[in-house]
């Protein structure tokens, strides 16, 4: 096989793996956002229906529920919790990436990087497109604070401010590229193309199938456009900044991350359920403190268990790798002159075939 063919083959595998990582990160941030919107709504006794790409809130006005949608504090609690959680999550990823950088596994680095981009785009995108399309999202916070409503000028100002912040954040994420790939090795263009630019296109195509069919979702469409714009901007900057480094093509062998790809395809099963809507009923006559404690408690326990399992698997893998390396070292040191006794007893006497073999 020619080198170019090998390069293309590994390039395609790398692209698919990175696309899967991008989709996983997008889904993680999306569900985190949705979860932390539903929980405060639930605690304010608001019934919600969880759809694939949106959340519908029960907005029927009754003597009991009327107060919920008129009080700015409630709106801030319901629509403000998720952005705060996603911002904390983004900052945590930023901390991990800048602290450990190139010492981390490449897939983990890419995952952290996508988490940062998706976090920024999710928080600012929901705000911007919420304002543009008049959605029930974090845009309601500024509406209820009477900054962007009823004054249309305030609305435009809010959107413009968010767009400027988004551009600044995206510009800042470009600086993180050096924590992702070592630019001096010459692979940065190749790696940015196969790990960032092209995978985002594949990932967005998958996500468009997930979120835009059968119900069109303007918010998600805007977010996809933001992600693609962001990636294009970063890739153009990478080329411009590192053009003085002679480019090399990376031909490191990679294996297809099949379990992750199967997991992401299986997510379409979730879509079948969420397309119909999952009703999260909250009675106006009850206080859900106990239920909330239970949900958060079990959620945290589940998360800790998941981290423990992941850590255990990681440690076992590392131990296995170390043992293999030690064994390899022993073999190398022996230089092929291994004592016959080391190989154990021969089961069959093969000496009579010595001449024929």
């Amino acid at each position: 096989m020619e080198i170019k063919q090998i390069q293309n083959r590994f390039g395609k595998i790398k692209m698919l793996n990175s696309a899967a990582i991008f989709v996983l990160s997008f889904m993680l941030v999306f569900y985190l956002y949705q979860f932390f919107t539903i929980i405060p709504a639930f605690s304010h006794q608001i019934t919600t229906i969880f759809y694939t790409g949106t959340i519908r809130f029960d907005n029927t006005t009754s003597a009991l529920s009327a107060d919920v949608w008129t009080d700015a504090d409630n709106i801030m609690a319901i629509f403000g919790t998720a952005p705060v959680v996603v911002i904390i999550f983004t900052l945590l990823n930023l901390l991990v990436l800048t602290e450990f950088g190139l010492r981390l596994n490449e897939s983990l680095r890419i995952f952290c990087y996508w988490n940062i981009i998706n976090g920024i785009v999710r928080v600012l995108g929901n705000f911007i497109f919420g304002h543009i399309f008049f959605l029930w999202s974090s845009n309601l916070i500024t509406d209820f604070l009477e900054i962007s409503f009823p004054n249309a000028f305030g609305k435009i100002l809010c959107v413009l401010a968010a767009v400027i912040v988004a551009l600044l954040c995206i510009w800042a994420t470009f600086g993180l590229i050096k924590y992702l790939f070592n630019p001096l090795l010459g692979y940065i263009r190749d790696k940015s193309l196969y790990n960032i630019a092209l995978p985002s296109l594949i990932g967005v195509a998958y996500l468009a199938l997930f979120f835009l069919i059968p119900h069109f979702n303007p918010n998600e469409l805007g977010i996809f456009a933001m992600i693609l714009g962001c990636v294009l901007f970063i890739y153009a900057l990478v080329i411009r900044k590192y053009k003085h480094i002679p480019p090399k093509r990376n031909i490191l062998a990679v294996k297809l991350n099949l379990p992750l790809i199967i997991f992401l395809l299986a997510l379409f099963l979730v879509k079948i359920i969420t397309d119909r809507g999952v009703l999260i009923y909250a009675s106006l006559y009850r206080n859900y403190l106990t239920e909330l404690f239970l949900v958060i408690g079990f959620g945290l326990l589940g998360l800790i268990a998941l981290i423990a399992v992941a850590y255990h698997l990681y440690k076992r893998r590392k131990q296995k790798k170390k043992m293999l390396e030690e064994a390899k070292k022993i073999f190398e040191e022996n230089n092929g002159e291994t004592d016959e006794a080391f190989w154990g007893v021969e089961k069959h006497d093969m000496s009579k075939y010595k001449d024929t073999l």
Partner: protein, 137 residues
């Protein structure tokens, strides 16, 4: 005073890789009796602590060389006065002065030509890191 020319070719290749920021080779230099080269590679990459280490541990010439590569006035003057042909021309080559690279080519010091080219790339990257994107050329 040990010059870079006194090291074995394999060690110089490892230094080249360490200059790239490859930790494996940095550790190799550190653990195999060449801490000064490990420190030199980090000093070129802008690590101030590594530069101090060189001056505090009798490898001042490497520290000065690192500064001369960065075009620091006093360091360049010191290198010029030292009369060490290699240091004068190698640091000049890293500063993209033509006579330096020509001297290395004439003397057929291939490994140092590659090293100088790597250092030029590192310095350009460092300069771009400090600039706004619209000024990148």
């Amino acid at each position: 005073m040990k010059s870079l020319t006194h090291y074995d070719i394999k060690i110089l290749i490892a230094l080249n890789k360490s200059l790239h920021g490859q930790k494996k080779f940095f550790n190799f230099l550190l653990q195999n009796g060449y801490p000064e080269l490990a420190a030199f590679s980090n000093a070129v990459r802008g690590d101030e602590a590594a530069l101090h280490w060189l001056f505090d541990n009798n490898f001042g010439s490497l520290g000065v060389l690192s500064n001369a590569i960065d075009n620091e006035k006093k360091a360049v003057q010191w290198v010029m006065k030292s009369g060490d042909d290699f240091m004068i021309h190698f640091s000049a080559a890293c500063r993209q002065e033509k006579f330096g690279m020509k001297w290395l080519k004439d003397k057929e010091l291939d490994v140092f030509i590659i090293m100088a080219q790597e250092i030029i790339t590192i310095l350009e990257t460092q300069i771009k890191d400090r600039m706004f994107w619209y000024r990148w050329k």
